[in-house]
Protein backbone atom coordinates (compact mmCIF):
# COMPACT_ATOMS: atom_id res chain seq x y z
CA UNK A 1 0.00 0.00 0.00
CA UNK A 2 1.45 3.32 -1.07
CA UNK A 3 0.49 6.71 0.30
CA UNK A 4 -0.21 9.60 -2.03
CA UNK A 5 -0.40 13.36 -1.67
CA UNK A 6 -3.90 14.68 -2.24
CA UNK A 7 -5.72 17.97 -1.77
CA UNK A 8 -8.81 18.26 0.34
CA UNK A 9 -10.70 21.53 0.01
CA UNK A 10 -12.69 21.70 3.20
CA UNK A 11 -14.90 24.63 4.11
CA UNK A 12 -12.86 26.83 1.81
CA UNK A 13 -9.48 25.75 3.17
CA UNK A 14 -7.01 23.73 1.16
CA UNK A 15 -5.27 20.87 2.89
CA UNK A 16 -2.39 18.98 1.32
CA UNK A 17 -2.27 15.57 2.94
CA UNK A 18 -0.47 12.36 2.23
CA UNK A 19 -2.75 9.43 2.81
CA UNK A 20 -2.96 5.71 2.23
CA UNK A 21 -5.71 4.62 -0.15
CA UNK A 22 -7.72 2.86 2.55
CA UNK A 23 -8.38 6.04 4.52
CA UNK A 24 -12.00 7.13 4.34
CA UNK A 25 -12.99 10.73 3.89
CA UNK A 26 -14.52 10.53 7.37
CA UNK A 27 -11.20 9.53 8.90
CA UNK A 28 -9.30 12.11 6.90
CA UNK A 29 -11.63 14.93 7.92
CA UNK A 30 -11.57 13.99 11.57
CA UNK A 31 -7.79 13.77 11.49
CA UNK A 32 -7.79 17.30 10.10
CA UNK A 33 -9.84 18.27 13.18
CA UNK A 34 -13.15 18.61 11.39
CA UNK A 35 -14.61 16.78 14.34
CA UNK A 36 -18.10 18.11 13.68
CA UNK A 37 -18.18 15.24 11.19
CA UNK A 38 -19.15 12.34 13.43
CA UNK A 39 -18.59 8.63 13.32
CA UNK A 40 -21.73 6.70 14.24
CA UNK A 41 -21.46 3.47 12.26
CA UNK A 42 -18.90 3.67 9.42
CA UNK A 43 -21.25 1.89 7.04
CA UNK A 44 -23.83 4.32 5.79
CA UNK A 45 -26.54 3.58 8.31
CA UNK A 46 -26.64 6.72 10.47
CA UNK A 47 -25.76 9.85 8.53
CA UNK A 48 -23.72 11.37 11.38
CA UNK A 49 -20.77 11.64 8.98
CA UNK A 50 -22.72 13.51 6.29
CA UNK A 51 -20.89 16.22 4.36
CA UNK A 52 -21.35 17.89 1.01
CA UNK A 53 -19.05 16.70 -1.72
CA UNK A 54 -19.14 18.96 -4.76
CA UNK A 55 -22.58 20.14 -3.71
CA UNK A 56 -24.04 16.69 -3.08
CA UNK A 57 -24.67 15.32 0.38
CA UNK A 58 -22.97 11.98 1.02
CA UNK A 59 -21.83 9.68 3.81
CA UNK A 60 -18.15 10.49 4.27
CA UNK A 61 -17.61 7.01 5.76
CA UNK A 62 -18.39 5.50 2.35
CA UNK A 63 -16.04 7.67 0.32
CA UNK A 64 -12.31 7.13 0.15
CA UNK A 65 -10.25 10.25 0.75
CA UNK A 66 -8.53 9.75 -2.60
CA UNK A 67 -11.92 9.88 -4.28
CA UNK A 68 -12.38 13.36 -2.82
CA UNK A 69 -9.01 14.60 -4.10
CA UNK A 70 -9.55 18.13 -5.34
CA UNK A 71 -13.27 18.12 -4.62
CA UNK A 72 -15.16 20.78 -2.70
CA UNK A 73 -16.08 19.54 0.75
CA UNK A 74 -18.44 21.34 3.07
CA UNK A 75 -19.06 20.32 6.67
CA UNK A 76 -21.53 21.78 9.11
CA UNK A 77 -18.79 23.75 10.83
CA UNK A 78 -18.15 25.44 7.48
CA UNK A 79 -21.65 26.90 7.45
CA UNK A 80 -21.31 29.16 10.43
CA UNK A 81 -19.74 29.86 13.78
CA UNK A 82 -20.85 30.68 17.31
CA UNK A 83 -20.52 34.39 16.46
CA UNK A 84 -22.21 34.15 13.11
CA UNK A 85 -24.28 31.01 12.81
CA UNK A 86 -26.02 29.89 9.63
CA UNK A 87 -29.81 30.38 9.76
CA UNK A 88 -30.25 26.61 9.99
CA UNK A 89 -27.85 26.38 12.91
CA UNK A 90 -29.65 29.21 14.65
CA UNK A 91 -33.05 27.64 14.02
CA UNK A 92 -31.86 24.24 15.22
CA UNK A 93 -30.70 25.83 18.47
CA UNK A 94 -33.92 27.77 18.95
CA UNK A 95 -36.41 25.10 17.96
CA UNK A 96 -35.11 22.44 20.34
CA UNK A 97 -33.81 20.46 17.37
CA UNK A 98 -30.58 19.89 19.25
CA UNK A 99 -30.60 17.49 22.15
CA UNK A 100 -27.45 15.44 22.48
CA UNK A 101 -26.20 17.08 19.31
CA UNK A 102 -24.44 14.05 17.94
CA UNK A 103 -26.65 13.79 14.85
CA UNK A 104 -26.90 17.55 14.46
CA UNK A 105 -24.05 18.34 12.08
CA UNK A 106 -25.15 15.64 9.65
CA UNK A 107 -28.76 16.70 10.01
CA UNK A 108 -27.98 20.34 9.26
CA UNK A 109 -25.97 19.44 6.18
CA UNK A 110 -28.86 17.27 4.97
CA UNK A 111 -31.29 20.11 5.63
CA UNK A 112 -29.06 22.55 3.77
CA UNK A 113 -28.91 20.25 0.76
CA UNK A 114 -32.70 20.14 0.77
CA UNK A 115 -33.17 23.90 1.01
CA UNK A 116 -30.64 24.48 -1.77
CA UNK A 117 -32.84 22.45 -4.08
CA UNK A 118 -36.22 23.20 -2.63
CA UNK A 119 -36.51 26.45 -0.69
CA UNK A 120 -40.06 25.74 0.45
CA UNK A 121 -40.29 22.06 1.32
CA UNK A 122 -43.34 20.34 2.77
CA UNK A 123 -43.15 18.29 5.94
CA UNK A 124 -43.12 15.12 3.84
CA UNK A 125 -40.25 16.42 1.76
CA UNK A 126 -38.29 17.31 4.86
CA UNK A 127 -38.86 13.86 6.34
CA UNK A 128 -37.66 12.29 3.10
CA UNK A 129 -34.59 14.54 2.96
CA UNK A 130 -33.42 13.61 6.46
CA UNK A 131 -34.39 9.94 6.25
CA UNK A 132 -30.75 8.90 5.99
CA UNK A 133 -29.88 10.73 9.20
CA UNK A 134 -30.82 8.92 12.38
CA UNK A 135 -31.62 10.84 15.51
CA UNK A 136 -32.28 8.90 18.69
CA UNK A 137 -33.14 11.87 20.91
CA UNK A 138 -35.69 14.17 19.32
CA UNK A 139 -38.20 12.06 17.42
CA UNK A 140 -37.39 14.47 14.54
CA UNK A 141 -40.33 16.85 15.10
CA UNK A 142 -38.34 19.82 16.35
CA UNK A 143 -35.78 19.20 13.62
CA UNK A 144 -38.55 19.48 11.06
CA UNK A 145 -39.77 22.66 12.78
CA UNK A 146 -36.28 24.10 12.56
CA UNK A 147 -36.06 23.41 8.83
CA UNK A 148 -39.47 24.95 8.26
CA UNK A 149 -38.57 28.00 10.34
CA UNK A 150 -35.39 28.46 8.33
CA UNK A 151 -37.17 28.06 5.02
CA UNK A 152 -39.69 30.73 5.98
CA UNK A 153 -37.00 33.06 7.23
CA UNK A 154 -34.84 32.63 4.16
CA UNK A 155 -37.77 33.16 1.83
CA UNK A 156 -38.76 36.32 3.67
CA UNK A 157 -35.21 37.56 3.38
CA UNK A 158 -35.23 36.82 -0.34
CA UNK A 159 -38.51 38.64 -0.76
CA UNK A 160 -37.11 41.70 0.97
CA UNK A 161 -34.03 41.80 -1.20
Amino acid sequence: MKAKAITLNVNGRRHQVTLFPNVTLLEALRDLNYTDVKNGCEKGDCGACAVELNGRIINSCLVLAWQADGARILTNAGLGTMESPHPLQEAFADAGAVQCGYCTSGMIIAAKALLDENPNPSETEIREAISGNLCRCTGYSQIINAVQMTAEKMMQQKAQE
Binding site: M1, T24, I58, L62, L64, Q67, G132
Partner: protein
Protein backbone atom coordinates in the same frame (compact mmCIF):
# COMPACT_ATOMS: atom_id res chain seq x y z
CA UNK B 1 -10.97 0.59 9.64
CA UNK B 2 -10.61 -0.64 6.10
CA UNK B 3 -8.10 -3.33 5.29
CA UNK B 4 -5.14 -2.53 3.08
CA UNK B 5 -5.53 -2.36 -0.70
CA UNK B 6 -4.09 -0.60 -3.71
CA UNK B 7 -6.32 1.97 -5.34
CA UNK B 8 -5.95 2.79 -9.01
CA UNK B 9 -7.43 5.99 -10.32
CA UNK B 10 -7.91 5.70 -14.10
CA UNK B 11 -8.94 8.87 -15.91
CA UNK B 12 -10.49 7.21 -18.93
CA UNK B 13 -12.44 4.06 -19.64
CA UNK B 14 -9.68 2.50 -21.79
CA UNK B 15 -7.26 3.13 -18.96
CA UNK B 16 -9.61 1.42 -16.55
CA UNK B 17 -10.05 -1.58 -18.87
CA UNK B 18 -6.33 -1.85 -19.14
CA UNK B 19 -6.08 -2.17 -15.37
CA UNK B 20 -8.66 -4.94 -15.08
CA UNK B 21 -7.28 -8.37 -14.46
CA UNK B 22 -8.09 -12.06 -14.82
CA UNK B 23 -8.24 -12.60 -11.11
CA UNK B 24 -10.90 -11.46 -8.73
CA UNK B 25 -8.13 -9.80 -6.72
CA UNK B 26 -8.90 -6.71 -8.75
CA UNK B 27 -12.28 -5.11 -8.30
CA UNK B 28 -13.91 -2.03 -9.73
CA UNK B 29 -15.06 0.53 -7.17
CA UNK B 30 -18.07 2.61 -8.19
CA UNK B 31 -20.15 4.25 -5.45
CA UNK B 32 -18.61 2.03 -2.84
CA UNK B 33 -21.85 1.60 -0.93
CA UNK B 34 -21.61 -2.16 -1.13
CA UNK B 35 -17.92 -2.64 -1.61
CA UNK B 36 -16.60 -0.42 1.18
CA UNK B 37 -19.11 -1.89 3.63
CA UNK B 38 -17.96 -5.39 2.68
CA UNK B 39 -14.30 -4.46 2.91
CA UNK B 40 -14.77 -3.06 6.37
CA UNK B 41 -16.60 -6.22 7.42
CA UNK B 42 -13.83 -8.31 5.83
CA UNK B 43 -16.40 -10.00 3.61
CA UNK B 44 -14.35 -9.26 0.52
CA UNK B 45 -10.55 -9.18 0.22
CA UNK B 46 -9.47 -7.66 -3.10
CA UNK B 47 -5.88 -6.52 -3.45
CA UNK B 48 -6.60 -3.74 -5.87
CA UNK B 49 -9.54 -1.44 -6.43
CA UNK B 50 -10.08 0.49 -9.61
CA UNK B 51 -11.99 3.69 -9.06
CA UNK B 52 -14.48 3.90 -11.93
CA UNK B 53 -17.07 6.11 -10.24
CA UNK B 54 -15.74 9.29 -11.75
CA UNK B 55 -15.38 8.16 -15.36
CA UNK B 56 -17.32 10.42 -17.70
CA UNK B 57 -17.83 7.65 -20.26
CA UNK B 58 -19.89 5.75 -17.72
CA UNK B 59 -22.24 8.56 -16.72
CA UNK B 60 -25.42 9.87 -18.16
CA UNK B 61 -28.66 8.65 -19.68
CA UNK B 62 -29.24 8.85 -23.41
CA UNK B 63 -31.39 7.58 -26.25
CA UNK B 64 -29.63 5.43 -28.81
CA UNK B 65 -31.22 3.45 -31.67
CA UNK B 66 -34.55 3.09 -29.94
CA UNK B 67 -32.92 2.19 -26.66
CA UNK B 68 -32.56 4.01 -23.38
CA UNK B 69 -28.93 3.68 -22.41
CA UNK B 70 -27.87 4.35 -18.85
CA UNK B 71 -24.20 4.60 -18.02
CA UNK B 72 -23.25 2.10 -15.34
CA UNK B 73 -21.88 4.81 -13.07
CA UNK B 74 -25.12 6.79 -13.14
CA UNK B 75 -26.18 7.17 -9.54
CA UNK B 76 -29.59 6.30 -8.19
CA UNK B 77 -30.08 10.03 -7.57
CA UNK B 78 -29.30 10.67 -11.25
CA UNK B 79 -32.02 8.20 -12.20
CA UNK B 80 -34.47 9.77 -9.80
CA UNK B 81 -34.28 13.18 -11.39
CA UNK B 82 -33.78 12.20 -15.03
CA UNK B 83 -36.62 13.02 -17.40
CA UNK B 84 -35.92 10.11 -19.77
CA UNK B 85 -36.14 7.67 -16.90
CA UNK B 86 -39.34 9.26 -15.66
CA UNK B 87 -40.87 8.72 -19.07
CA UNK B 88 -39.33 5.49 -20.26
CA UNK B 89 -38.45 3.73 -17.05
CA UNK B 90 -41.33 4.42 -14.72
CA UNK B 91 -40.81 1.44 -12.44
CA UNK B 92 -37.10 2.19 -12.22
CA UNK B 93 -37.82 5.76 -11.25
CA UNK B 94 -40.14 4.59 -8.52
CA UNK B 95 -37.49 2.21 -7.28
CA UNK B 96 -34.99 5.07 -7.24
CA UNK B 97 -37.27 7.15 -5.02
CA UNK B 98 -37.54 4.45 -2.36
CA UNK B 99 -33.95 3.26 -2.68
CA UNK B 100 -31.90 3.53 0.53
CA UNK B 101 -31.83 7.20 1.55
CA UNK B 102 -30.81 10.49 -0.07
CA UNK B 103 -27.17 10.24 0.98
CA UNK B 104 -26.66 6.73 -0.34
CA UNK B 105 -28.55 7.57 -3.52
CA UNK B 106 -25.96 10.24 -4.33
CA UNK B 107 -23.23 7.58 -4.41
CA UNK B 108 -24.85 4.25 -5.24
CA UNK B 109 -24.69 3.40 -8.94
CA UNK B 110 -26.95 1.32 -11.11
CA UNK B 111 -23.99 -0.71 -12.34
CA UNK B 112 -22.90 -1.49 -8.80
CA UNK B 113 -26.42 -2.48 -7.85
CA UNK B 114 -26.48 -5.15 -10.58
CA UNK B 115 -22.83 -6.19 -10.44
CA UNK B 116 -23.12 -6.90 -6.73
CA UNK B 117 -25.62 -9.64 -7.53
CA UNK B 118 -27.85 -9.23 -4.52
CA UNK B 119 -31.30 -10.83 -4.74
CA UNK B 120 -32.62 -7.70 -3.02
CA UNK B 121 -31.13 -5.19 -5.49
CA UNK B 122 -33.92 -2.69 -5.98
CA UNK B 123 -32.97 -1.68 -9.51
CA UNK B 124 -33.21 -5.26 -10.75
CA UNK B 125 -36.97 -5.96 -10.82
CA UNK B 126 -37.75 -2.73 -12.69
CA UNK B 127 -34.96 -3.42 -15.17
CA UNK B 128 -36.20 -6.99 -15.63
CA UNK B 129 -39.67 -5.83 -16.61
CA UNK B 130 -38.15 -3.25 -18.91
CA UNK B 131 -36.33 -6.07 -20.66
CA UNK B 132 -32.93 -4.58 -19.92
CA UNK B 133 -29.58 -5.79 -21.11
CA UNK B 134 -26.22 -5.35 -19.53
CA UNK B 135 -23.35 -4.08 -21.63
CA UNK B 136 -20.03 -5.65 -20.70
CA UNK B 137 -16.71 -4.45 -21.97
CA UNK B 138 -13.20 -5.66 -21.47
CA UNK B 139 -9.93 -4.64 -23.06
CA UNK B 140 -10.68 -6.80 -26.07
CA UNK B 141 -14.25 -8.04 -25.82
CA UNK B 142 -17.66 -6.52 -25.88
CA UNK B 143 -20.96 -8.27 -25.27
CA UNK B 144 -24.49 -7.62 -24.22
CA UNK B 145 -26.26 -9.97 -21.83
CA UNK B 146 -29.95 -9.92 -20.99
CA UNK B 147 -30.33 -9.00 -17.34
CA UNK B 148 -32.25 -12.24 -16.76
CA UNK B 149 -29.10 -14.15 -17.61
CA UNK B 150 -26.70 -11.76 -15.97
CA UNK B 151 -27.33 -12.56 -12.32
CA UNK B 152 -26.99 -16.30 -11.76
CA UNK B 153 -27.11 -16.72 -8.01
CA UNK B 154 -26.66 -14.97 -4.69
CA UNK B 155 -23.74 -12.61 -5.33
CA UNK B 156 -23.01 -14.40 -8.63
CA UNK B 157 -23.07 -12.92 -12.12
CA UNK B 158 -21.75 -13.95 -15.53
CA UNK B 159 -19.40 -10.97 -15.54
CA UNK B 160 -15.84 -12.01 -16.25
CA UNK B 161 -13.30 -10.49 -13.84
CA UNK B 162 -11.86 -8.48 -16.72
CA UNK B 163 -15.18 -7.03 -17.77
CA UNK B 164 -16.75 -3.81 -16.66
CA UNK B 165 -20.41 -3.06 -16.90
CA UNK B 166 -20.43 0.01 -19.07
CA UNK B 167 -24.13 0.51 -19.54
CA UNK B 168 -27.60 -0.86 -18.97
CA UNK B 169 -30.04 -0.52 -21.85
CA UNK B 170 -33.59 -1.33 -22.71
CA UNK B 171 -35.84 -0.77 -25.70
CA UNK B 172 -37.98 2.34 -25.34
CA UNK B 173 -41.31 1.00 -24.15
CA UNK B 174 -44.29 1.52 -26.43
CA UNK B 175 -46.36 4.64 -25.86
CA UNK B 176 -48.94 4.09 -23.14
CA UNK B 177 -46.97 1.49 -21.24
CA UNK B 178 -47.20 1.65 -17.50
CA UNK B 179 -44.68 0.49 -14.93
CA UNK B 180 -44.95 0.27 -11.16
CA UNK B 181 -42.64 -0.75 -8.35
CA UNK B 182 -43.42 -1.70 -4.79
CA UNK B 183 -40.95 -2.55 -2.08
CA UNK B 184 -41.62 -3.84 1.40
CA UNK B 185 -39.05 -3.13 4.07
CA UNK B 186 -39.12 -3.28 7.84
CA UNK B 187 -39.26 0.48 8.10
CA UNK B 188 -40.39 3.29 5.87
CA UNK B 189 -37.02 4.56 4.73
CA UNK B 190 -33.55 3.18 4.41
CA UNK B 191 -34.49 -0.47 4.60
CA UNK B 192 -33.30 -3.46 2.61
CA UNK B 193 -36.19 -5.04 0.72
CA UNK B 194 -37.91 -7.97 2.40
CA UNK B 195 -39.45 -8.34 -1.02
CA UNK B 196 -40.01 -6.14 -4.03
CA UNK B 197 -42.18 -6.27 -7.12
CA UNK B 198 -42.10 -4.54 -10.45
CA UNK B 199 -44.92 -4.79 -12.92
CA UNK B 200 -45.07 -3.39 -16.43
CA UNK B 201 -47.96 -3.33 -18.80
CA UNK B 202 -47.07 -2.86 -22.45
CA UNK B 203 -49.60 -1.69 -25.07
CA UNK B 204 -52.98 -1.49 -23.62
CA UNK B 205 -55.44 -0.39 -26.18
CA UNK B 206 -57.85 -3.27 -26.69
CA UNK B 207 -58.89 -3.66 -23.08
CA UNK B 208 -57.04 -6.92 -23.09
CA UNK B 209 -53.61 -7.27 -21.73
CA UNK B 210 -51.17 -7.35 -24.60
CA UNK B 211 -48.18 -8.02 -22.56
CA UNK B 212 -47.58 -7.88 -18.87
CA UNK B 213 -44.28 -8.42 -17.16
CA UNK B 214 -43.79 -9.17 -13.52
CA UNK B 215 -40.48 -9.31 -11.69
CA UNK B 216 -39.79 -10.11 -8.07
CA UNK B 217 -36.90 -9.25 -5.77
CA UNK B 218 -35.58 -10.86 -2.58
CA UNK B 219 -37.67 -14.00 -2.95
CA UNK B 220 -35.21 -16.24 -4.84
CA UNK B 221 -31.43 -16.50 -5.17
CA UNK B 222 -31.69 -13.90 -7.94
CA UNK B 223 -34.26 -11.30 -8.90
CA UNK B 224 -36.71 -13.23 -11.09
CA UNK B 225 -39.41 -12.87 -13.69
CA UNK B 226 -42.73 -14.56 -12.89
CA UNK B 227 -43.03 -16.23 -16.29
CA UNK B 228 -46.03 -18.47 -15.62
CA UNK B 229 -48.03 -15.56 -14.29
CA UNK B 230 -47.05 -13.46 -17.28
CA UNK B 231 -48.12 -16.23 -19.68
CA UNK B 232 -51.47 -16.53 -18.03
CA UNK B 233 -52.12 -12.82 -18.38
CA UNK B 234 -50.83 -12.63 -21.93
CA UNK B 235 -53.43 -11.34 -24.32
CA UNK B 236 -56.36 -11.82 -21.96
CA UNK B 237 -58.53 -9.43 -20.03
CA UNK B 238 -57.46 -8.45 -16.52
CA UNK B 239 -60.41 -9.89 -14.64
CA UNK B 240 -60.29 -10.36 -10.88
CA UNK B 241 -60.18 -14.13 -11.35
CA UNK B 242 -57.23 -14.06 -13.70
CA UNK B 243 -55.44 -11.59 -11.50
CA UNK B 244 -55.90 -13.80 -8.45
CA UNK B 245 -54.62 -16.78 -10.35
CA UNK B 246 -51.65 -14.89 -11.72
CA UNK B 247 -50.76 -13.65 -8.25
CA UNK B 248 -50.78 -17.23 -7.05
CA UNK B 249 -48.53 -18.28 -9.92
CA UNK B 250 -46.15 -15.43 -9.16
CA UNK B 251 -45.84 -16.61 -5.61
CA UNK B 252 -45.22 -20.17 -6.80
CA UNK B 253 -42.36 -18.91 -8.93
CA UNK B 254 -40.44 -17.83 -5.83
CA UNK B 255 -37.87 -19.80 -3.92
CA UNK B 256 -38.04 -17.61 -0.86
CA UNK B 257 -35.91 -18.27 2.17
CA UNK B 258 -36.30 -17.12 5.75
CA UNK B 259 -33.86 -14.68 7.34
CA UNK B 260 -33.83 -12.05 10.07
CA UNK B 261 -36.18 -9.90 8.02
CA UNK B 262 -38.95 -12.41 7.45
CA UNK B 263 -39.85 -16.04 6.90
CA UNK B 264 -40.17 -17.74 3.54
CA UNK B 265 -43.90 -18.30 4.09
CA UNK B 266 -44.44 -14.61 4.80
CA UNK B 267 -42.59 -13.60 1.65
CA UNK B 268 -44.57 -15.99 -0.54
CA UNK B 269 -47.85 -14.89 0.90
CA UNK B 270 -47.20 -11.19 0.56
CA UNK B 271 -46.00 -11.63 -3.00
CA UNK B 272 -49.42 -13.05 -3.79
CA UNK B 273 -51.20 -10.22 -2.03
CA UNK B 274 -49.13 -7.44 -3.54
CA UNK B 275 -49.03 -8.80 -7.08
CA UNK B 276 -52.78 -9.03 -6.86
CA UNK B 277 -53.02 -5.48 -5.58
CA UNK B 278 -50.68 -4.01 -8.19
CA UNK B 279 -52.47 -5.77 -11.04
CA UNK B 280 -55.87 -4.77 -9.76
CA UNK B 281 -54.78 -1.15 -9.55
CA UNK B 282 -53.30 -1.34 -13.03
CA UNK B 283 -56.51 -2.79 -14.43
CA UNK B 284 -58.49 -0.05 -12.71
CA UNK B 285 -56.20 2.74 -13.87
CA UNK B 286 -56.22 1.63 -17.48
CA UNK B 287 -59.97 1.28 -17.45
CA UNK B 288 -60.28 4.77 -16.05
CA UNK B 289 -57.91 6.10 -18.65
CA UNK B 290 -60.05 4.66 -21.44
CA UNK B 291 -63.21 6.28 -20.16
Amino acid sequence: MLPEFELLMPRTLPEALEMMDESSKVMPLAGGTNLLVDLRGRLSRPQTLINIGGLDELRGVRVEDGYIVVGSAATIADLKRNALIAKHGQALRQAATVFANPLIRNRATIGGNLAYGSPAADAAPPLLVLGAEVELLSKDTRRTVPLEEFITGVRKTVRHPRELITAIRWPIPPEGSVGVFRKLGLRKADAISVLSIAVMLLHMDTGDCDQLRIALGAVAPTPIRAAAAEDLLDGGPLTPEVIAQAAQLASEATQAIGDIRGSAAYRKRVITALVQRLLTNLAKDTKEKKH
